[in-house]
């Protein structure tokens, strides 16, 4: 009898305007990573240091959108990935970076680079290499279609594990009491 060779699902991850906390929490699934690696293979992700994004089955994105480069990477993930998962508070509602949304960008740059203590004649960075900041920080679903969301700041390893298992089994993740958290 032929053995069915199951093709591993290709998974890419990235952190946009996030703190890498969600990636750390993902690594907290510890030895369950080995079980997961039976089912998936990583494409672009900070975990493998692969920089180029290929065609993927699943893209997992931490962090919201605070600059033009974030938007560019998000759109590329949407183009290349069949399923996109937003992970963590920042990806889902902007999170901590979005707390700047009540202030004007000009005022923030002024405060950070010109008027705050210890900055004599500070210059607002304007190297063309630097991506331009957005006027407001936005969550991912306001720019591209997101298939699934895993809330939490960060979501616990158990929440991530449950959600990924649900998704790999082909249904929407459902986190019950104790696993669903916004903090």
């Amino acid at each position: 009898m032929d053995t069915v060779v199951k093709k591993k699902l290709k998974v890419a991850t990235t952190s946009l305007a996030g703190c890498f906390g969600c990636h750390m929490s993902f690594l907290d699934i510890d030895e369950r990573l080995f079980d997961l690696l039976e089912l998936i293979a990583f494409d672009r992700t900070p975990l493998t240091d692969i920089k180029e994004l290929g065609e993927c089955d699943i893209g997992i994105i931490e962090g919201g959108l605070c600059n033009a480069e974030n938007v560019h990477v998000l759109r590329e993930f949407r183009r290349q990935c069949k399923l996109l998962i937003a992970i963590g508070a920042c990806a889902i509602n902007g999170g901590l970076p979005a707390q700047r949304n009540q202030l004007s960008l000009a005022l923030i740059l002024e405060e950070v680079y010109h008027t705050s203590v210890g900055l004599a004649n500070g210059l607002i960075p304007n190297d063309p290499e630097l991506p331009l900041p957005l006027a407001k920080v936005r969550p991912l679903h306001e720019v591209v279609r997101i298939d699934y969301f895993i809330p939490g700041c960060p979501p616990s390893a158990d929440a991530i594990w449950k959600a990924l298992n649900d998704i790999l089994a082909g249904h929407a993740p459902a986190l019950g009491h104790g696993l669903i958290h916004y903090d």
Binding site: Q99, N101, Q102, G178
Partner: protein, 238 residues
């Protein structure tokens, strides 16, 4: 035998003059709610408590129980609508739970958990709502106000101070402080006021403490909001 009606097929007894939600909570049947509070007259604004009675939807906190009525509440369709209402509440304000002292003890958050809200879905308004830090003991963070009017009712009906009001209409509705300056410091509100302790979300915050109960031991870490049926007593201890 006392009169009764049914919720999702379960018989619920009631006394003359009780609303559906009053009878339900007394009988241990949870109906999601945010602006209902057992000690106050109904306001009927959040619509989370909407149920179906003979094919018509109505707020169970403003509808009197009647003998023989068949009420549907815990149905996928109603819970979908409740989740949508909850999502709207999240995007209309600024709800950053990780930095909110009320997190874990917040009825909006707990209700969203219970309804399986994984995302706020809609575009966020990111409104600009400056906080009022003028009072020595109480901080007002308007970013989280869901306009349930509980502080308004408590200050007017219990504290006798009438320190708060909802002003404006429609999407422009907002909570105001009844003082000429508009500042909390210029009212006679104190930490002991019912108004300060009744908010279901994180608007009224004591300045002398914050994050005093560790994650894992907060009210809704222990049990989901539906398991409390009426979380008033548990929250009052906080």
């Amino acid at each position: 035998m006392s009169a009764s009606f049914t919720i999702d097929g379960k018989a619920v007894p009631f006394a003359e003059g009780q609303t559906i939600i009053q009878a339900a909570l007394a009988a241990g049947v949870y109906i999601p709610h945010l602006c209902h509070h057992p000690e106050f007259k109904p306001h009927g604004s959040c619509k989370l408590c909407t149920v179906r009675i003979s094919g018509r939807q109505s707020a169970s906190c403003t509808t009197l129980a009647q003998a023989g009525m068949a009420v549907e509440s815990d149905t996928p369709a109603l819970n979908d609508e409740r989740r949508t209402l909850t999502q709207m509440l999240f995007v209309e304000g600024n709800h950053f739970c990780p930095s909110c002292e009320k997190s874990g003890n917040c009825k909006l958050q707990a209700t969203a958990y219970d309804l399986g809200m994984m995302t706020a879905h809609f575009d966020h308004f990111f409104p600009s709502r400056p906080v009022d830090a003028s009072h020595p003991d109480v901080l007002l963070d308007f970013n989280r106000c869901i306009l349930c009017s509980l502080c308004v009712r408590a200050s007017r009906d219990v504290d006798g101070k009438n320190a708060f009001a909802l002003s404006g209409r429609g999407i422009k509705t907002h909570l105001i402080v009844n003082a000429k300056s508009g500042r909390l410091a210029d009212t006679d509100v104190t930490l002991q006021d019912k108004a300060v302790r009744v908010c279901p979300v994180g608007v009224f915050l004591r300045k002398d403490r914050g994050f005093n109960v560790p994650i894992g031991r907060r009210v809704f870490d222990l049990k989901p909001v539906s398991a409390y049926v009426d979380a008033t007593a548990a929250l009052a201890k906080e």
